[in-house]
């Protein structure tokens, strides 16, 4: 939960995320060049994500890969779980990763808050676990199509490790897949992936430009976790009764939707009632019964003859 308390530090980020910042919608990919050696020697790869829990900002998936023969070198770099490192330590390690570009490659996938909200709120729900799994699978595919001789994959789990592992094994039978909890502290290659992901997510938050207009909102939104009062207060400040939050916020988070319910305006959809009937597949009774003649033999009182109306003659019950 120590994530990104320091993200507000104003300084230029170590990683260039301007491509994402300019259009912070959908999915954005970043990557290093593919080291030549990784296409020749058998490689291992680590996968981790950053920013899964927070209500603000993108979720970033990171992967890193290197030849198995370089495992010793990798250990020497002293990677650790990105969460236990300070911002500057992480950035230093990120530099180390980029310096090792001869044999260490990485990729990252930035999933914008808008993309996450859209997936999770669309008619056929696409939950966060499935999004995570699919993103990881996609990244593995990309690495394979780059020609990297991948043989081993280490993954920090999302959901149950067993089912995730069997899912990955069935898709990539040629790979030795290891899915565990806390993989980022167990395997240096996963730590490297987690550092990439985390540094990129931090950069996205620091560099974030509000597409709604940069002057509309303050950038002191805290770490993005709902346990952070700065984040909650920032959300309360920027809520618009009609439009809700800026796109930095994941609308699909219950914190966001609850806040909208209590602070936003209620929208009444006149079709909702009808939808319910349609769902029940109940046709209207008027499809079967035609309209009655308005002044026919029905129970409706017949119109009086023009003679009486023109002369303003009315029936009375009592005579004065």
């Amino acid at each position: 939960m120590a994530e990104g308390q320091e993200t507000q530090e104003k300084k230029s980020s170590v990683v260039d995320v301007s491509g994402f910042i300019d259009s912070p919608l959908g999915v954005h990919n970043l990557q290093s060049a593919v080291p030549t050696i990784t296409c020749q020697d058998e490689c291992l790869m680590g996968i981790d994500e950053a920013g899964r829990g927070p209500v603000l900002g993108p979720m970033v998936y990171g992967i890193s890969y290197c030849p198995i023969t370089k495992t010793k070198d990798l250990e020497k770099l002293k990677f650790a779980d990105s969460k236990v490192l300070s911002v500057s330590q992480r950035e230093d390690l990120y530099h180390t990763i980029t310096e090792c570009n001869e044999w260490l490659g990485w990729k990252a996938c930035i999933l914008s808050p808008n993309y996450l909200s859209n997936c999770m709120l669309r008619r056929s729900k696409y939950n966060l676990n499935s999004i995570s799994h699919d993103t990881a699978i996609d990244l593995i595919r990309k690495v394979l199509s780059d020609g990297v001789k991948l043989t081993e994959v280490y993954v920090d789990t999302v959901g149950k490790p067993e089912s995730y592992q069997s899912k990955l094994e069935s898709i990539f039978p040629q790979l030795k897949v290891t899915v565990t909890k806390k993989a980022d502290s167990l395997f240096p290659i996963v730590s490297a992936a987690s550092i990439c992901a985390k540094v990129i997510r931090d950069a996205c938050l620091t560099e974030w430009k509000f597409t709604e207009g940069d002057d509309c909102y303050s950038k002191s939104f805290g770490c993005g976790y709902t346990s952070d009062t700065t984040t909650i207060n920032w959300m309360k400040d920027c809520i618009d009764p009609v439009f809700g939050f800026p796109t930095l916020v994941r609308f699909s988070w219950s914190t966001a939707s609850k806040m909208l319910e209590s602070n936003g305006l209620l929208v009444k959809w006149p079709d909702d009632d009808e939808d319910e009937e349609q769902k029940a597949n109940c046709p209207k009774i008027s499809l079967f019964f035609g309209k009655a003649k308005t002044n026919g033999d029905g129970p409706k009182p017949a119109k009086r003859h023009r003679y009486f109306e023109e002369r303003k003659l009315e029936a009375v019950d009592h005579f004065i």
């Binding site: 009937e277 046709p283 009774i285 309209k291 009655a292 409706k300 017949a302 029936a315 009375v316």
Partner: protein, 266 residues
Amino acid sequence: MFEARLIQGSVLKKMIDAIKDIVTDINLDCSSTGISVQAMDSGHVCLVLIELGSDGFEPYRCDRNITLGLGLKALSVVVRCANNDDSITIKAQEGTDNINFVFESPNGEKTSQFEIKLMDIDSEHLGIPDTEYDSVVKMPSHEFQRICRDMSQLGDSIVVACTKDGIQFSASGDMGSGKINLRQSSLVDKEEDQINIELNDPVHLTFALRYLNYFTKATPLSPTVTLSLKAESPLCVTYPIGDFGSMKFFLAPKIDDEDTAAATQE
């Protein structure tokens, strides 16, 4: 001048209880032959038709056809003030915006008077055609109520199938499924406990239980209920009211595929 006195005021109470969950406002269409009410639920999925002949009232006077629009909420509040054995007199003067209710205890010692403001209710009247039904089933009303209640535990809709062997109600859902078969019975002593099936053609129709459960709120009105069924046509559930009237509920069958949906459009 309109005036109608119902000796058994409890009948009016039961009628209002039966429809107050379906409709919010009703028009009492009063003519010299009696009172009729036609109303639909907000989604226009079902239709209620109440017909009360003038011979059920003593006295009954209706000089001119008159339509009295009433909010059911107010009506229900007022009618609840009547004792079950009270007689209820409904009075409305020509040209006023009020309707009067007078409750009299059987021994004449207590009378209560209530006045409700009339409403202008815009309602479209549907012409209900005289239908030759394929199957007409008369059964104890509490039995029908029980079936609908039990089946609604299983699913949202009920399949009603009438054959020469009897009538079958079935429902299914995530939990499981259930079937209830009723055979024609003539050996029962009491006529109201009999199940009587008039069959011209076998029918097989599906209905939304939600509405049937509304309809069975009319069970206290009558010991028997009649289900009139015809393929691709609305079901008619009839609760007779004494020998002078009836409360009818119409509900369109559920449509499974689009072909039948198109076929039922006029």
